[in-house]
Amino acid sequence: MDPGLLAQYLFNGLMLGTIYAIVAVGFSLFFGVLDVIKFSHGDVVTVGAFSAFGAAGLMAALATLSGPLALAVGLIAALGAGALSGVIIGRLLVLPLKNAPGVNVLLATLMAGTVLREAIRLGVPNGGNPKPFPALLPEGVLKAGSFSVGIDSVIILLAGLAVVLATHLVITRTRLGLSIRAVAQDEEVAQLAGVSFNRTVLGTFALGSMLAGLAGLMLGLYYREINFNMGVMLGIIGFACAVVGGLGSLIGPIIGGFLFAGVQTLVTVVLPFTSAYKDVVAFAVIIALIGLFPTGLIAEKSSERV
């Protein structure tokens, strides 16, 4: 096969993997501190994308902004809206349902996601149709032989990898990260040691949902189009990645994200005629992997005492 084309596939796979990983890390964070699955996460991605879209559009209408400044406005809007919706859902829905069965929380947050999605569809003018996302990154194409890639895509990919790294640093090096890890390990002992449980949980929700908002912005910049239901599938894939990698670890969802994107890309490359089956194969791999590793590739460190 043509090496340029192969490189193209590799790049696309990396890009998808980065986005999946960023979404999956959120699931893992929430599960770590509260043992819940917050399924509205995918729709928070959409909220982030639409906030960036709206903010950038509004600023462009008010004043002509240079590219980087408009991007900064979009970025702040995406992060802010993501964090806000995450904190609201956490405060009103997830914390009160803390002692309810897991399925109830799952269902409640799925419905919260539906509310977000429908709010976008009904609230944004002509929200049912796809929207063109403005090109906020510098144009231009890098070429190497038959391999060509937009500068904007490279920036998105590097930024995504940097974000994954930064999240790792936040978790391992900061005070918030320390309290997140403490609560994840043992909520009561953490509280005895003076860690505020509610504040830590909401902080985690803000952090994870900021990542989702950022993923929304990245998707918009990469595909140049956003849609009110773009988050549904992404949420499920992110959840799948987090579970396959191992809920409750940080490296697990990252592995899961790249794995899922890798399988999808591999099917497209190896079986070009059946590329329509790439989702079928990817989900089959997920099911098989869970069958083989029932608590994820990076297993939960727990043993049951009888």
């Binding site: 799925l110 509310v115 499920i236 329509a276 079928v280 989900f283 099911i287 029932p294 049951e304």
Partner: protein, 399 residues
């Protein structure tokens, strides 16, 4: 003491209570069904809202007022009377609305979704096996009906084969489902639902995105879609479907209730509530979970097959995640493990959005908010499952 002795029996004093109690129970149930029938048929927004308000009031009364609580207790003590009255009421409603296409279609839909919910009840409420792919197994049943409807196999047998096919397909998931718990098991079924839908969409043999036509149901040479009169009465061709669907639900109801009150139900409850303790008592966790999962999928598949035959077509969209969620919502809203609750929830979720056309655009939001509110403020559902009553055992002592 064997497991069979542990199954709850009817408390001794209720056997003595008079016919008056039965009459009260029958009247209450008949009244509720009459209200439900009016709701199905009501077309004006005002009527619908008034009926809904009446239902909310009835529920509130049943909880807050001593008389209401007493009647609820009586209903629980006389399940036979409740079920008989329900069957008679359904027949009466069907007879009264025999010419109304749309109303009967909705009645059949509610009954079939409630049947699917009965299958999910077996899986989730009894055995604790999450199934987020209800619509997928439902669609499997419909696809089997589409494939076998024209082959001359009697359609009752087709329904059975559809159930069997859904169970066999569920077999693929059995290993991952048994090896995992909680969220991990949930993901297995979610992934399966998405996989199946993606597969149906790209597979041309099964009609691709357009799906397939399904031949209408015929029973002993009687084609349901051609039936326009019974004796001297003109009837909608949805009437036989509505009756068949209700009969199917009745069968599922009977089966699930029998399992629940037998040693199987006790074993499943034990497996769900504490795996370790259950295995200490010699119950095979894998065996009971597998039984519930396969049997539940079979029930969903049968319901799906009849649903496909009624609609006349099936496409990959019927296997979508949203529909699986609707089935789950029916289960959770009604109260996990209570099949009458599932019927009420099926009406709430499937019928009310159709009735309130004014809110058509907002119906998804309202539906989502409603589910959230119930989960938040009434987590055990509208009609929670009654706790097992072992008082007769305690009073009578071990025989």
């Amino acid at each position: 003491m064997s497991m069979a002795d542990l199954a709850p029996s009817v408390p001794a004093q209720t056997a003595r209570s008079g016919g008056l109690a039965r009459l009260a129970v029958a009247a209450t149930v008949a009244l509720l069904f009459a209200g439900g029938g009016f709701l199905l048929h009501a077309e004006q927004q005002g009527q619908v809202i008034a009926l809904l308000a009446a239902f909310v009031a009835v529920f509130a009364l049943a909880e807050k007022v001593p008389v209401g609580r007493r009647i609820v207790g009586l209903c629980r003590a006389h399940p036979g009377t409740v079920n008989l009255t329900a069957a008679v009421s359904i027949l009466a409603i069907a007879a009264a609305l025999r010419e109304e296409h749309y109303t009967l279609l909705m009645m059949a839909t509610v009954a079939l979704f409630a049947t699917a919910a009965a299958g999910l009840t077996l899986q989730m409420a009894f055995a604790g096996v999450p199934n987020f792919a209800g619509a997928a197994f439902f669609a499997v049943g419909a696809y089997v009906a589409a494939l076998l409807g024209n082959t001359g196999i009697p359609h009752l047998l087709v329904l059975l084969i559809a159930g069997l096919a859904a169970a066999v397909l569920g077999l693929v998931l059995l290993l991952p489902v048994l090896r995992t718990r909680g969220h991990y098991a949930a993901l297995v079924t979610i992934a399966f639902g998405l996989l199946l839908r993606a597969f149906l969409e790209v597979n041309d043999v099964l009609g691709g995105p357009q799906g397939m036509k399904v031949k209408s149901f015929s029973l002993f040479g009687l084609d349901f879609s051609r039936m326009t009169e019974i004796g001297p009465y003109d009837v909608s061709f949805y009437l036989p479907y509505a009756l068949a669907s209700c009969a199917l639900f009745g069968l599922a109801f009977f089966l699930v209730r029998r399992l629940e009150t037998s040693f199987v139900g006790v074993a499943l409850d034990a497996v769900r509530s504490d795996e370790v303790a259950a295995s200490v008592f010699g119950l095979s966790i894998a065996r009971w979970k597998a039984t519930a999962f396969l049997l539940g999928n079979a029930m969903i598949g049968v319901a799906g097959a009849l649903y496909g035959m009624m609609n006349g077509f099936v496409n990959p969209n019927s296997a979508n995640f949203g529909d699986s969620l609707i089935m789950l919502s029916i289960l959770v809203l009604g109260g996990l493990g209570n099949l009458w609750g599932a019927v009420v929830a099926a009406v709430v979720i499937l019928v009310i959005p159709e009735k309130l056309q004014a809110i058509q655009e907002f119906r998804l939001v309202i539906f989502a908010l409603l589910v959230i509110a119930i989960l938040r403020f009434r987590p055990s559902g509208l009609m929670p499952r009654a706790a097992r009553d072992f008082s007769a055992l305690v009073k009578g002592g071990a025989k």
